[in-house]
Subunit: 404 residues, 2 copies
């Protein structure tokens, strides 16, 4: 049997006033998820551990079976890998924003009016320069996002941030440990130079209105060395795998774990993604791969925006597209979330997520609907995120016998 | 949000014949606990691990989030701290009973008729003496209880007990490891000298009746070095905390963990305590502290006495006082026990304890009553004691995101 893991990012939630005390998943009409819940087993999952608030990166590491407390080294390397920039041993990688500052280095807009055009030209102006003996590798991502990789001797990721995260002056990075002194110095110089190179850049010349502010500085954050992620295939007894996922962070994480990335036209990692195309690509990938991860980012975005009704409707859209999955043969199907993003909190929380697992010929419980409340009394009980894939592989008969 | 943890010591139980097969908590009318169960989520908790019979000390360490298998070093240091005696590195601390022996060192009453007056004078006769190069620090506690701290070079806590725990002769302490030879010798000499100093003490002169036996010896037990308890605030991401608790063991444990102790007039750590005053003090403490522990000792005492009906009635008294907690705003409330003390066993057992967690805006399950049976199918499932506070802090939004 093969394995398909459908992750609806941030889908799990808390009771919402706008939804008469239901969660978006409880309020949504999800006949296809319900059907899989009815045919299979449900439960609740602490993605990392009770009370631990998962990031998207640590959560996905856990869902791939790894212990994030052992392999996580910061978000930067995953973003870099997801943007197609190689991260080597000894490198320090960052995720970055193009931002807007005034001449006194006060941040006016952390996202430069969410600039979406011309960032490739801005990146070209920065990429390839050297600061001391350190090579600067810089590449634009989606919208205002970009990645930075520092390459050269004597680097260490344990430094403080330059991004003030709110309005205020750009900060000076400082080393948290003596070995990181050079890295902090290089990052400060990089930040200054990015301003010098971008402030009069042609792309910024006609970006001078409040709605189109100039992308005149790069703010880097999330410094990290290459993560200690084991090979997915070796870790999971020879399973090969692929991922259908739009957002760069999860793409990078899957790629660094050794999953193949399947590019789907129309997949954006956002609300406007082509849900049907992604579902079809994931089903098709089952012909080639033992394991397929299918990821939808949008529920998390609605959670961060506090839009419970929008989240409900989007979950219904996903459910509609998942109808095709009901016809997949000989496959263990799991639907879950990487964490809760309650609309009432507008950020990730530690609330456990509902999970359903279905496979032909496997046991089923008495749960008939897929949501947070029904999952509480499901047959899977409470599981941990890092146990999920191992459990699916076991049910699929893909794990060797331990002992004789 | 803030956190309140209500611990009803030994409240969890087994079915009782006297209560028509119900547990005391099942038999009790507890409308306030039921209301919180209905609004929140219930579950069962293995305070340490399945099958491990918790002591009050190890249980409370777990409930504060620590792993007792790593930080526990014996009960003595907690009792000493709870009685207001400092325990320093290198010290060995004991909890003690004033007891009654005959001239052949046969124990007639391990609690000297539960002596409650004059123990300060008895303690004065003992405190401050020296045995070899070891300083003897001795202080009376509540009723027949006292604490002993040995201070000086070459001490080690790993010795056998002098207290026979049943009637019989006072035992000779022996070292379990060679390094503890001196400590065993000092303790044996201390025991002998306590008899010499107390047998003709004025306080004992008029204690010669079967109902008022003389407190003519000190029996020390629970030897331990200072525990390796981490700082509560550092361990829990900056949460500050306070405890409303009467009995010295739990007071000492809370104090050594860095919780502030709140003294409540009328709080005795026993059956005659002022329950209402404690509840009010705990609620008031939420103005100042992020975390408040509220502890009631009496259910455990009824369990040890095998008094199922008395236990039932006392649980009802606690419930009545907890009505005020229903009006507390913006707080995660947890009600649980530190272990089971079944009336049929008259001692602690490893049976898991029921636990309920309620917080405004959080999910709720379908459980409507708080007790051992209903908790079995609650939405929290089965949790571990050391996960509880972490989980509460996560639900309260007090834990940082792990990752990004």
């Amino acid at each position: 049997m093969k394995l398909m893991l459908v992750i609806c990012d941030g889908m799990a939630d808390r009771p919402s006033k706008e939804l008469n005390g239901m969660t978006p998943l409880e309020a949504a009409e999800v006949p296809n998820m319900d059907k899989l819940a009815k045919l299979g087993q449900s439960g609740l999952m602490d993605v990392i551990a009770p009370g631990i608030v998962p990031g998207s990166d640590t959560a996905h590491l856990a869902l791939l079976g790894f212990d994030p407390r052992k392999v996580y080294t910061g978000r930067g390397p995953f973003e870099a890998a997801g943007t197609g920039v190689e991260v080597r041993k000894g490198d320090v990688a960052f995720r970055c924003n193009f931002a807007t500052v005034d001449e006194n280095m006060n941040v006016l807009d952390r996202r430069a009016s969410r600039i979406s055009e011309g960032t490739d030209q801005l990146a070209q102006a920065i990429n390839g320069m050297k600061i001391e003996d350190i090579e600067i590798i810089f590449k634009e991502g989606v919208d205002h996002r970009a990645v930075l990789v520092l390459r050269g001797p004597g680097l260490h990721p344990d430094i403080t941030e330059v991004d003030p995260h709110e309005s205020g002056k750009v900060l000076e990075s400082k080393p948290n440990v003596p070995e990181a002194e050079k890295t902090a110095r290089i990052l400060n110089e990089f930040t200054k130079r990015s301003y010098d190179l971008l402030k009069l850049h042609p792309v910024n010349i006609d970006r001078q209105s409040p709605l189109r502010q100039p992308a005149n500085i790069v703010l880097a954050r999330g410094s990290g060395s290459p993560p200690n992620v084991p090979s997915f295939t070796e870790y999971h007894n020879g399973l090969n795998g692929a991922a259908v996922v739009g957002i760069s962070l999860v793409r990078g994480l899957c790629s660094l774990s050794g999953l193949d990335l399947i590019d789907v036209p129309g997949a954006t990692g956002s609300i406007d993604t082509d849900i049907n195309a992604k579902v079809e690509a994931a089903i098709e990938a089952l012909d080639t791969y033992d394991f397929v991860l299918l990821h939808f980012k949008a529920p998390d975005l609605f959670g961060h925006d506090g839009d419970a009704k929008g989240k409900t409707q989007y979950i219904q859209k996903i459910d509609l597209a998942l109808e095709k999955i009901l016809h997949v043969k000989n496959t263990i199907i799991c639907i879950t979330a990487d964490h809760s993003t309650p609309c009432s909190v507008m950020d990730h929380t530690a609330d456990p997520v509902p999970v359903l697992v279905y496979g032909p010929g496997l046991r089923h419980d008495s749960i008939e609907c897929f949501n947070e409340s029904d999952a509480m009394s499901g047959g899977l009980g409470h599981i941990k995120g890092h146990e999920l894939l191992q459990m699916m592989a076991g049910l699929a008969g893909r794990n060797p016998k331990f002992g004789a």
